[in-house]
């Protein structure tokens, strides 16, 4: 007897339908075989299915069972075929039909219950596109799949429940997606109010958050670089619907959505350590997996001690920094992962870290400093819009002036300004394919950043005086656009441009 149970395979962010064909033959020795390029996890599915069916109180059929995953030439991986295989066998044993236009996905536990499985969202999106109306997924993954409107998502707890449903003895309520309202507590470790001093750096953070600009902080150890970066999530604007779905897709593929989790509505903050491997950071592997830069899509990638990162890792980020996506090519497949992130980097000014420190003396020679600063290549620095020098704060100055910290702006207030500026940008770029000022290409700059003669004059004087490169020139305009947006101004004024010049390349461009 042949039963077909439809499921899917995820190749990168692409989804392809897979038919799980289960054949129970009465002739031949009892056995259980899976064909169709299964990987180890799929092959082990046999044992899980056998145990799960037995623990559900159904005798495992003593027949020759052959499972084919069609199309047979695509490598299948993961544990998601447990449920379709088990449903196929059960349908033969218990004599129930497989409903039409349905997709199945889920990993089984030995006791017959279903475990959270990655990729549910991608399957739901696929279902919507190709007209599948019913999805059977583990209960823990149902919220993730339920994000897609127009598809009925059935949260399955265990095999007994789903068999009961097909035998019309029990009911499973499809999940109803509830839009999670914004105003969730932010994931920031610090409030901007807790950062004492660093007024200019905080302002730069605000600009970076509003316009999605890459930013680099250079300063001595203990001057507050990491704290500033960790406070950043608190002032980031929330993801809009499209962005949200994009991010959730990547997390779904990576299996990084927690059980019961749903749409990701907050910008993600990723902080990989500098010992991260190339594949871990940019993605890849024999079966291409999204890396940290893709997990930071539409969010923040914080690279602490930037010049400690290996050269090849740093250079591999150049293409995604420019294009916003990364193509991973393998002999058998090519995968494109989006990686449009905001880079926040921090670095020490010299090997000892105390160059320009007001109290401590730097013990590095000029040569050592040059060598150290050269570790960040020019092309990478060129892609960073905001450069700030962080000088250590005299804590004594603040401890006896507690009132000061009361007056400091909280992240909440800064976030309000950022959100308004972000809305302005979305409105502006409604007809373009970009979302933020940082993504503007030269054609956009020409269109949206009209400069008066005076401002152009100032910019030209500045680029002569500070020896700005052509790219820096354009970057300054982009930053000025964001400052104007924060100010609620339609046009860039002289003062916006003058402030933007504060964040021009500083220490690290001297090498």
């Amino acid at each position: 007897m042949l039963i077909k149970v439809p499921s899917v395979v995820n190749l990168g962010l692409e989804t392809i339908k897979v038919d799980v064909e289960v054949n129970l033959a009465n002739r031949g020795l009892p056995g259980f075989e899976i064909v169709g390029l299964p990987d180890k996890a799929v092959d082990e599915s046999k044992e899980r299915v056998r145990a799960a069916i037995s623990s559900s109180g159904v005798d495992f059929p003593a027949k020759k069972i052959t499972v084919n995953l069609a199309p047979a030439d695509i490598q299948k991986e993961g544990s998601l075929y447990d449920l379709p295989i088990a449903v196929g066998i059960l349908s033969s044993v218990l004599q129930f039909p497989i409903p039409e236009k349905s997709l199945f996905l889920g990993e089984l536990s030995f006791d017959g219950s279903l475990r959270h499985t990655k990729g549910a969202l991608l399957m739901a999106l696929f279902a919507k596109e190709f007209g599948f109306s019913n999805l059977f997924v583990p209960k823990d993954s149902a919220n993730e799949a339920g994000v897609v409107k127009g598809v009925k998502v059935f949260p399955v707890e265990n095999l007994i429940q789903i068999a009961g449903y097909f035998l019309k003895k029990r009911n499973i309520e499809p999940v109803v997606y509830q839009k999670i309202l914004s105003g969730l507590p932010s994931s920031a470790e610090f409030d901007m109010r807790e950062v004492l001093g660093q007024e200019q750096a905080k302002r730069a953070m605000e600009i970076a958050a509003a316009g999605g600009h890459n930013i680099i902080m250079v300063g001595s150890p203990g001057s507050g670089k990491t704290m500033l970066a960790r406070a950043l999530p608190g002032i980031l604007p929330p993801l809009n619907e499209t962005e949200s779905l994009e991010v959730t897709k990547i997390y779904s593929v990576a299996g990084s959505i927690p059980p019961g989790g749903s749409l990701i509505t907050e910008r993600q903050f990723r902080a990989p350590h500098h010992s991260a491997s190339l594949v871990g950071l940019v993605g890849g592997g024999a079966k291409p997996h999204p890396g940290e830069i893709s997990l930071a899509h539409r969010g923040v990638l914080f690279l602490d001690e930037f010049n400690e990162f290996p050269h090849n890792v740093m250079e591999a980020m150049r293409q995604p920094l420019e294009d916003g996506y990364l193509t991973i090519s393998r002999s058998k497949q090519r995968v494109i992962y989006p990686a449009d992130f905001m880079l926040v980097a921090s670095a020490n000014p010299c090997p000892c870290g105390y160059l320009n420190h007001p109290k401590k003396n730097c013990v590095c020679t000029q040569n050592q400093i040059k060598k150290y600063q050269k570790r960040i290549s020019g092309p990478i620095l060129d892609r960073i819009d905001l450069h700030i020098a962080i000088l250590p704060v005299d804590t004594a100055e603040f401890s006896d002036n507690q009132k000061n910290s009361e007056l400091l702006e909280s992240s909440k207030i800064i976030k309000q300004r950022v959100v308004l500026a972000k809305e302005k940008q979305e409105e502006r770029f409604i007809k373009d394919s970009i979302q933020s000022n940082a993504q503007m290409k030269n054609s956009h700059i020409k269109k949206y950043c009209k400069l008066t003669k005076d401002i152009e004059g100032i910019l030209r004087t500045a680029s002569l005086k500070f020896q700005l490169s052509a790219r820096s020139y354009m970057k300054t305009i982009k930053v000025a656009r964001t400052i104007a947006d924060l100010d609620g101004a339609e046009e860039i004024t002289i003062s916006h441009m003058a402030e933007a010049l504060q964040y021009k390349p500083k220490i690290y461009d001297t090498v």
Partner: protein, 290 residues
């Protein structure tokens, strides 16, 4: 062909001969050897870790002194030496760089541009070491005796205790050269050496004329009134307060914003504009008035 001057030669600088047994037997050189260049020499030495203050003072003093025709002698190291040499070549003055390595080497390498600028401005590169002799610990200290020996006086801008700069000062004392020192903040590590010199009787320098008087040279007419005129042009209220604050003490933008109670954004804007107009400048994170 290697160019060199021997101690027996007539061209050999007199002042250097005076130091007696320690005078180098042979001086290799690059550039054009003219005896006038050795007439009025001032050694300008400073710490390798020159502060923004030290750099500014060196530039200010050297510019005026070199413009009056005095030859600036120094050791071509980064920091103080580099500041002295480059301030001199910038106004087209004469300068002598005494290398700690063989004459055919440029050390430190990355100052290659300055090396050729010195030669272009009719300056001299000299060394007692031949060919590609690599610089080692002792050559730096030995080099300093030539720097002191060539000059009538030495000017110490910033020096740590136990520094090469103080070694030069020690030689200068030994050879009976006059020592000028620039006072700095007593808390700064690179002022400890200069303060020690002052305590031991070095002359305090606060302006170029202090040194020019010793050389009996009248100061060159550098139009300094220009910056004064700029000051009096119309400044906004914020610009004025910021300039007043910076005159008292160079500061970073954060501190300015805190002390004056102006937002970081506004301070940044004003600083950028004033910097473009040339009122203020920035050095290692701090702003100061030109």
């Amino acid at each position: 062909m290697e160019k060199a001057v021997k101690i027996e030669d007539k061209k050999y600088p007199k002042s250097l001969k005076e130091i007696g047994r320690e005078a180098p037997k042979k001086l290799y050189y690059k550039g054009e050897w003219k005896e006038e260049i050795f007439e009025n020499c001032l050694a300008v030495v400073g710490s390798r870790h020159l502060t923004g203050y030290g750099k500014k003072i060196t530039e200010q003093l050297v510019t005026e002194i070199a413009a009056s025709g005095i030859t600036i002698v120094s050791g071509f190291m980064y920091g103080g030496d580099e500041a002295a040499h480059s301030a001199t070549v910038r106004i087209g003055g004469k300068t002598i760089a005494v290398m700690p390595c063989g004459i055919d080497m440029i050390h430190p390498e990355y100052q290659e541009k300055l090396y050729y600028e010195i030669l272009e401005n009719k300056g001299l590169i000299i060394s007692e070491l031949e060919g590609k002799f690599s610089p080692v610990n002792w050559t730096y200290a030995r080099r300093n005796r030539i720097v002191a020996g060539l000059s009538k006086a030495i000017l110490v801008v910033e020096a740590g205790l136990n520094s090469g700069t103080l070694i030069t000062a020690k030689y200068a004392k030994k050879y009976g050269r006059k020592i000028f020192a620039v006072p700095g903040q007593i808390t700064s590590d690179v002022s400890k050496g200069t303060i020690k010199l002052i305590k031991e009787g070095a002359f305090v320098v606060t302006e170029a004329s202090d040194i020019l008087k010793y050389y009996n040279v009248s100061p060159a007419n550098l139009s300094n009134s220009e910056s004064q005129a700029k000051q009096s042009s119309i400044l906004s209220k914020e610009e004025k307060t910021i300039i007043e604050q910076l005159k008292r003490e160079p500061m970073e933008a954060d501190l300015l914003s805190r002390t004056l109670g102006i937002s970081a954004a506004k301070v940044g804007t004003t600083l950028s504009l004033m910097q473009l107009k040339g009122f203020i400048n920035q050095e290692s994170g701090k702003y100061y008035v030109n």
